[in-house]
Symmetry: C2
Subunit: 400 residues, 2 copies
């Protein structure tokens, strides 16, 4: 997807390291760091800092001296709080032994990959997709296999024929992200059943990224206000690993706190992999996580409301005539299809220069994303209105 890094050959690095792609989002983000007046809609985070009640829980823990090594799997209080949270959100009984605390969603993904794929293995990834999926698969030594989704009148959809055609004896897993970053695609129950059937037939692991599960905007899809989940269709013996994070729901991107949900029989393996990855997550950070789970529902509701408002504002870009934008069903991104012949990176750079708005180029999300731009709308309405105004003003010159 992005070129691998070139380092002097005397270093003789491992291919897994050299081939790990630079993030096309971070590239643009770094490019514009420090520029004045740019409205930053490129990164997958909102504009709100973490609520004070969560920060205070961490500070109290620090002041109380919770600064020692702790349980590799996470402190029992947090694992129990996670089980209660899942029971509440998904309406199903849940076991604390299924939850393994990690220092963010990425470490959970990396551990999932280490367990299921390595040298000689393929991992299927419906694209456009968050670039870190390709990164995690590559670092594990496995080969990412992009399976483009189909873009039509109603937005993006899985291409099951192409998924079937992509399976080989090397295939070991499929990464499923719903609601999806960057497209906003949200799997229906029927999609999830079909994916589960596909994985079962071919003996594949499913690595499920449902981190935007609380952000579902199409009422026809929502179940008790959240997106359909593999939990709704799976059996306990299914080989599914859920990677999760506190980042999005509770505005905790900078905390590096997440979890892996897995069959309890994998507990000792996961404990060992955590030991050799980060050796656990700070207790004071975990205390923040407990506060978020136990007292954070009002804040999550506020975040969801804000995202819906943002989605409506950004939807007006379709009226410019220069972009295609079927309303995204979930998550908090608009994935704009730009008319005209310029690459998404050219348009992104031009929008920084001429409109002072930062969007992520679609090419960062795989070849299937070329020609698109990702806009994060988890932001203050006035910022988004100004951004839409500036983009609409600049597009005729840029896209034309």
């Amino acid at each position: 997807m992005n070129a691998s890094v070139s380092v002097p050959s005397l270093f003789n690095l491992r291919p897994e390291a050299e081939q790990a792609p630079s993030s096309g989002i971070v590239d643009v983000f770094n490019h514009a760091r420090g520029r004045e007046g740019v409205i930053p809609l490129w990164v997958g985070e909102g504009d709100l800092p973490t609520p004070a009640f969560i920060c205070d829980a961490a500070s109290r823990s620090l002041a109380a001296g919770e600064t020692f090594y702790t349980y590799q799997r996470g402190i029992p209080d947090l694992r129990q709080a996670l089980a209660r949270y899942h029971e509440r959100v998904y309406g199903l009984p849940s076991d604390p032994e299924r939850f393994f605390v990690t220092t963010g969603g990425m470490p959970a993904m990396q551990i999932a990959m280490r367990m299921v794929a390595g040298n000689g293995d393929d991992v299927l990834i419906p694209t456009p997709a968050w670039p870190n999926f390709v990164g995690a698969v590559t670092v594990a030594g496995a080969r990412p296999v992009a399976v483009p989704m189909v873009f039509g009148q109603n937005g993006w959809n899985l291409d099951f024929e192409r998924l079937e055609a992509s399976v080989t004896p090397r295939s070991r897993a499929i990464l499923v992200n719903s609601p999806a970053n960057p497209t906003g695609w949200t799997a229906t129950l029927s999609d999830l059943r079909a994916l589960l059937d596909f994985a079962r037939r071919h003996g594949l692991w499913i690595v499920a990224d449902e981190i935007y599960g609380r952000f579902v905007h199409d009422p026809a899809l929502a179940i008790d206000g959240r997106a359909p989940s593999f939990r709704d269709v799976m059996s306990p013996e299914d080989r599914i690993l859920f990677v999760q994070t506190f980042s999005k729901n509770w505005a905790m991107t900078g905390w590096r706190l997440g979890w892996l949900e897995a069959p309890p029989a994998l507990g000792q393996v996961i404990e060992n992999l955590i030991q050799y990855q980060t050796s656990g997550t700070p207790v004071f950070v975990q205390r923040g996580g407990i506060a978020a789970l136990e007292d954070g529902e009002d804040f999550v509701a506020h975040q969801i409301d804000r995202a819906r408002t943002g989605r409506e504002i950004v939807g007006r870009l379709a009226d410019t005539g220069y972009v295609d934008l079927p309303p995204p069903s979930g998550a908090f991104y608009a994935f704009l299809k730009i008319k005209g012949g310029r690459t998404s990176k050219e348009v992104a750079m031009a929008l920084i220069e001429e409109a002072k708005v930062g969007l992520a180029p679609g090419s960062a999300f795989g070849e299937a994303g070329e020609g698109y731009l990702r806009l994060c709308y988890a932001r203050e309405a006035s910022d988004l209105e100004e951004a839409v105004r500036r983009i609409a003003e600049a597009l005729p010159r840029i896209a034309g």
Copy 2:
């Protein structure tokens, strides 16, 4: 070293995951968790919580809303503070571009391994050694090759003949830990020159763990109060990766904050690997690190004094006649050679039951550690005196 984990075959996990050994230290630690009255000397951490001025720096950062994504390589303020710290401690100019902030020493080690070794590669490890070295090498898909050190009248020494004999075309790196956990062995300048020459001749990377470098107890070895370092003998073009942590010097084991020091030409590769590992380290945690580096020298001096006192107290165990214990040159561990025929795990378990003192079994540090026990003496003198009294009382029955 330790048996790999057995999981149901239906999960069909990757060998790198299944073969990652359980930590023999964590095993014992978990075994005795929650027991009353056990003096815990098994884990590699002291008994002091993080000083308040470090905790306060983190809490202020949280209150100021530093809760967003940040630089993958670490915030510039911390990288600059690390360069100044190295100039002060090692008396050599240092470049912030050499430093990459990680969420602990283990993530730094894991990234170092990902760069230099993988499937088909060997990594040499002088043993006894911290078990996480074997873990990190295994998870990377490479093969750890234990090269036992020699125990004599004056303690442990490298076996250079055996090191030479262990090199094959598969050899890619050597892990050098000085001052060493668990043995307290501390390399002389002459040892370091010989190791560097060895690595250069065979085209090996050196992964240097000098995290106990401030804890050197043999005045004949000390250079400006710290242990000899590869920095004293290397050239800029040498292929050396330093893995480091805030854990020991500043009592920050639970913070998960460390750094990797590497040639700046590897910067983009390391940035990418951090992106796919943890996606960076919380800014508020990094603020604590800056406080530690800038204002923590009095605390480090206090820690070193305490360790020296602890070393003297623990040294009295040699008088019991049941252990061999040449005074350790560095770090804060005593590695006791137990007389009699029982395994180190048996003795460790018996000491928990009969003396209520928790030591780590030497077998956790590789086969070369069998017959030894590790005792961490970074602890309050009165605790250590009581522990020595209890061990001395119980040893005649246990070791006999």
